[in-house]
């Protein structure tokens, strides 16, 4: 019990801090490292709430593929993080806004019963059955998202011949 709670707290801290760090560090390559760590921390959560399949998926897709993709993007663009970041025309308003949303969300979170709750996972087989059976439509749509994304992205990044 305590162990789980402790794990939760550690993971929560890690996830939050890595996410922040990823957005705030000056070197883009470091950012990618923090992001990877963030994804790992999230997958830790999934293990914690008895969703090991998702944990693995998270590790594979995010910590693996997405991170590498981002790294690739960084290398191609070869741009350092700009000297001063938070300087849009709106001044400090964005920070205030995101804080405001955060506060409201946190307030709402307090209405959630504060006691511990039982969270249980289920066999991976059940998940896959559901995914390909009941929720097949979602996967189908995911495929339909990926198809134009693939075609379009390739077209977009391809150099013109002439």
């Amino acid at each position: 019990m305590i162990l789980e709670l402790l794990a939760f707290l550690v993971l929560a801290a890690t996830a939050t801090l890595t996410a922040l760090a990823a957005l705030l560090v000056r070197e883009l390559v470091h950012t990618i490292l923090w992001v990877a760590l963030f994804f790992v921390a999230l997958s830790g959560f999934y293990f914690l709430v008895s969703a090991p399949f998702l944990g693995v998926l998270q590790l594979g897709v995010y910590a693996g593929a997405v991170t590498i993709l981002l790294l690739f993007g960084v290398m191609v663009t070869r741009k350092r993080i700009f000297a001063r970041e938070a300087a849009t025309g709106l001044g400090p308003a964005p920070i205030a806004l995101s804080l405001l949303v955060l506060v409201i969300l946190a307030t709402a979170a307090t209405t959630v019963p504060s006691g511990t709750t039982q969270l249980s996972g289920f066999p991976i087989a059940a998940l896959s059955t559901a995914l390909f059976n009941v929720y097949g439509g979602w996967l189908l749509l995911l495929g339909l998202v990926m198809l134009p994304a693939l075609a379009g992205s390739i077209y977009l990044v391809r150099e013109d011949r002439e």
Partner: protein, 669 residues
Amino acid sequence: MTGPLSVLFGWAFLVPLAPTLAFVVIGLFGRRMQRLEWGGWVAVGGALFAMVLGVLIAVGEMLTPGSYTDRSFQWFTLAGSGTGAFPNGFSLVMGTLVDPLSAVMLIVVTVVGFLVMLFSIDYMHRDSGLPRYYAELSLFLASMLGLVLADNLLQFFLFWELVGVCSYFLIGFYYQRPAAASAAKEAFLVTRIGDVLFLLGIFIYFQQFATAGPALGWAAAGFPFVYHSAPFLAGIPISNPTLFTIAGLLILGGAAGKSAQFPLDVWLPDAMEGPTTVSALIHAATMVAAGVYLLAITSVFIGFSATDQLAIVAIGGFTTFWAATMALVNRDIKRVIAYSTVSQLGYMVLAVGAGFTMVGLYHLFTHAFFKALLFLAAGAVIHAIETQDLFKMGGLRKTMRVTSIGFLIGGLSLAGIPPLAGFFSKDDVLGGVYLAAQSHPLYWPFFALAFLTVFMTAYYIFRAWFLAFSGDQPRDSTLPQAHEPPWTMRLPILVLSALAVVAGLLAFVPQFGGLFAAGARFPPTPGVPPSYSATDLLLSGVSVGLGAGGILTAYTLWGNGRVFTLDARSAAQPIRRLLLERYYVKAGVDWFGLHAVYGLARLADFFDQYVIDGTVHGFERLFAEFSLRLRRIQSGVVLDYAAYVVAGLAVFLLFFFVIVPAIPALGGG
């Protein structure tokens, strides 16, 4: 009641129709006729027909005393809905009514009309635009006859307006002269003020009679009440005497406008910008008398109110004096006669107001002839020497004998020298007012003014005669050689001279006098001329003496080519100036028109453009400005756009978490 000529009464509508046809013919084919100079003769023909028929009808009326004949058709009708002010609806009619009053007027209008038309043939032959002149004159004649024969107040008003507009056009006949155009405008607008009051007066009568209609057994309310209702009047309960008083005052307003009574008198002297023939016909004999005629036909209602009568007496009496003073000093021959017209109209109004309706009409009758005579004679002078300035004239007696005699007869008649026409009628007026003042002490001052005016009248008209006709030769030697006018002009002068002599005496012919005695139509105010009692004879004597004194004064100052000049430092000089400037009324009216009314209008226009429309523009600018400012949020920076999204999110969440719980209607609270 039928008489020898009463079969003609039904055909009375032909009287105005003849000049109407002349108007249409000249209007349509005038330009083609101009070369052949037919236009004038068509008009003369129309007027001749009207005169013959009109006089015959009048004679017929004399032969069947006290009769009246009404022929009418419905103009438009309104079906009643069973409720409201006119439960049975009402119908408006047009028609002709022949009775003693209209008979008198028929004679005046047709005779003077015909003579003036005839006079015009040569008088106007040098002018361009003659078809227009004859068309307008014919239309005027038609309208005037329509007015005279009107059998109800609405029709009366309709033709009243038409004669007004004809007068407007005829005053402005020389429209290229700014003064003429301006005078025409002034005449129209000043009389329009009166017309508007008159119209309201009509409404009041109409409504009152419509209310009383069922009591009178009328199926539908209507306007034919002026004469028809008179016999019933005794049976009408006057439900609202104040309203009747107000109506009488409003009618007086209308009459004052048309008859140039104070304070609406300013237009008539200026109207002399028109051709002299027009002045003779319209602004002396006929149209200006329509106001008096109106008072006469409505006197039956006005008689209900002492206030109205006093108001009429006051207006008439004061105008008599007021206009005469201005005539004393004027240099313009036509304007002198014009002031005299205003003054004489004042006598008529005075008489009607004092309750002697038929006396007023009697004076109207005689005045029409001698005033037209004066104008035509003046016209002949102007035609001959092409000036209107008395101080340039002189000695015309020698070259224009007929004219000078005509003018003399007219002048004597105007001055009230017996046995000329003016004597009898003016005497009757004075006598009547004297009689009325016995029971109405407030009439005295106006009687005094009117009496005093007799002297002034004689003075100013003979001042004019002496200046123009006596002496050896014109004071201005550059004037063209004067000559006696052709027969078309001489004939009307001669005829009118004769009428000016005999018109007064005609009243002693029983049949003719009967017209004026037919006051039985007006029960509250018998209009019988005063009998010649001792007081009357004394009054007549004093009046004639005053007239003679006036003539003598004029001779002393102006006779035999003398010119009386006032010392520049004389105490009378400011008075003379005041009179010449017409008491500054004209200047005041002009100022009022140009600065007060037009100024206000300009102000309103400014307000309209810059405040009302400015507000509209303000809204436009407001939106534009708002749009331009709001557009700045579209900065092109995608991060800003994201911020809007998040801000919207924040607003929604705040709405759900702060506002919804706070407001019971939304499910919170």
